[in-house]
């Protein structure tokens, strides 16, 4: 089962329709998926899931960056996690990284720096962010744009972050993550 975490400022928001539903539409044929708001994530949900995807949010919604205590499970647990945009930023902060002001709106050229299971070479991606991060030594930088870091992976664990939005363009990235870490492996 894949847990899709709604990172928006409140439950059932307009942002949920925009940032969570497209993730579900992209991967729901691959495995059982449940969507939960980040406030409601408990041991029960975490025990049942094989992996988690943290959604993005509207450009003005930085709420989770001030609720890092709700994401201790990312660091203390052992689940594979993929953070998208706000999810990327939140994972970074949970592991002690610093935010770096970086505005990105629209299609951006991404360059892969390190071989990984999600993407390769150069590609265009949709971005919508106010910040990137400067990751700690625990992370490898997987990709960058001309402006900032666009993807990372924890050096020892299957914790990934992408600043761009694969649910908009590059849906295969989300599907590869689910295929790799799904308990069902229906693909």
């Amino acid at each position: 089962m894949i847990l899709v975490v709604d990172m928006n400022f409140k439950k059932s928001s307009l942002g949920c329709l925009e940032f969570v539903q497209p993730i579900l539409s992209t991967i729901s044929d691959l495995d059982v998926c449940i969507a939960k708001h980040y406030i409601d994530i408990g041991q029960n949900e975490l025990a049942k899931c094989d992996a988690a995807i943290l959604s993005g949010t509207p450009l003005k919604d930085n709420t989770t960056l001030n609720h890092l205590e709700k994401f201790r499970w990312v660091k203390s647990g052992n689940k594979p996690v993929l953070g998208i945009c706000a999810g990327f930023q939140t994972i970074g902060l949970v592991f002690g990284a610093c935010l770096k002001k970086c505005l990105g709106i629209g299609m951006t050229e991404i360059t892969t720096l390190q071989s990984n299971i999600l993407f390769s070479s150069q590609f265009k991606a949709y971005t919508l962010h106010n910040f990137s991060i400067e990751p700690t030594d625990e992370f490898d930088t997987l990709a960058e744009s001309t402006q900032c870091i666009q993807a990372f992976k924890h050096k020892r664990r299957n914790i990934y972050g992408v600043l761009f939005h694969p649910e908009v363009r590059n849906k295969e990235i989300l599907r590869r993550f689910v295929c790799e870490f799904s308990g069902h492996r229906r693909v």
């Binding site: 307009l14 539903q21 450009l59 003005k60």
Partner: protein, 226 residues
């Protein structure tokens, strides 16, 4: 949160409005009337009907006319939204964008400049599901523009129903037409929706069509009880 909805009177912006009204406070509608028939951003048949739709919705409407030149129309949009901030204290904008990164990126930039939230509640929606949701929620939608082969004038004025959706899905398979008109193949006009206090009755219309391009122009309409 007080929001303004970018409103063309077509199915997407009206469904986005519906979803916004279910979740937040919609303070006003914002319509840009483009003089440029080629505008990628704002050209829509029956754009003047938004005035009557706004009355049916009991919502104030800010309408701004734009020449429709590529980047100037963005400045016109910025001014219209800024006007909504001044008059209705909106904190964010809702759009009916479904697929177009071009449109969405430009509106996101304008909202960022004005320090406003931007919501796209139909973003990346499956087109068939989106059309079916309109039927389920009892929206009354007519085809008011056709702009692609093999659509012809027989489509103009037709009401969206499950049979029409089925035909559009077949055209997608055969000719690559976007069933919800994301490529500008089809334009629509909404005559009734759950949040309309009264519905629109068309009293007089004209069909202007040539080949695979045409519009169903509403010349006279009124509000009637539902």
């Amino acid at each position: 949160m007080k929001l303004g909805v970018l409103f063309s009177g077509g199915k997407d912006s009206t469904l986005a409005l519906h979803l916004a009204m279910e979740r937040e406070t919609v303070a006003c509608l914002i319509t840009l009337k483009s003089k440029n028939a080629e505008s990628y951003m704002f050209h829509t048949p029956n754009i003047d009907l938004t005035k009557l739709q706004a009355v049916a919705l009991k919502l104030p409407l800010i309408m701004r006319i734009t020449e429709g030149r590529k980047e100037e129309e963005l400045e016109d949009l910025r001014q219209a939204i800024d006007d909504a901030v001044g008059r209705f204290q909106i904190e964010g904008v809702v759009t009916g964008a479904v697929e177009s990164v071009y449109q969405s990126t430009r509106i996101q930039c304008v909202c960022h400049q004005l320090n406003l939230w931007c919501f796209n509640p139909l973003w990346k929606r499956n087109q068939k599901e989106l059309l079916e949701e309109l039927i389920t929620k009892r929206f009354k939608v007519i085809v008011s523009g056709i702009f692609a082969y093999p659509l012809d004038e027989t489509w103009l004025g037709k009401e969206l129903n499950l049979d029409i959706i089925d035909k559009l899905m077949k055209l997608e398979k055969e000719f690559g037409i976007s069933p919800s008109g994301e490529g500008g193949e089809i334009e629509t006009t909404v005559l009734d929706a759950p949040m309309f206090r009264r519905k629109i009755e068309i009293l007089q219309h004209a069909i202007e069509a040539r080949g695979n391009s045409g519009v169903f122009q509403v010349n006279e309409a009124r509000l009637v009880p539902k």
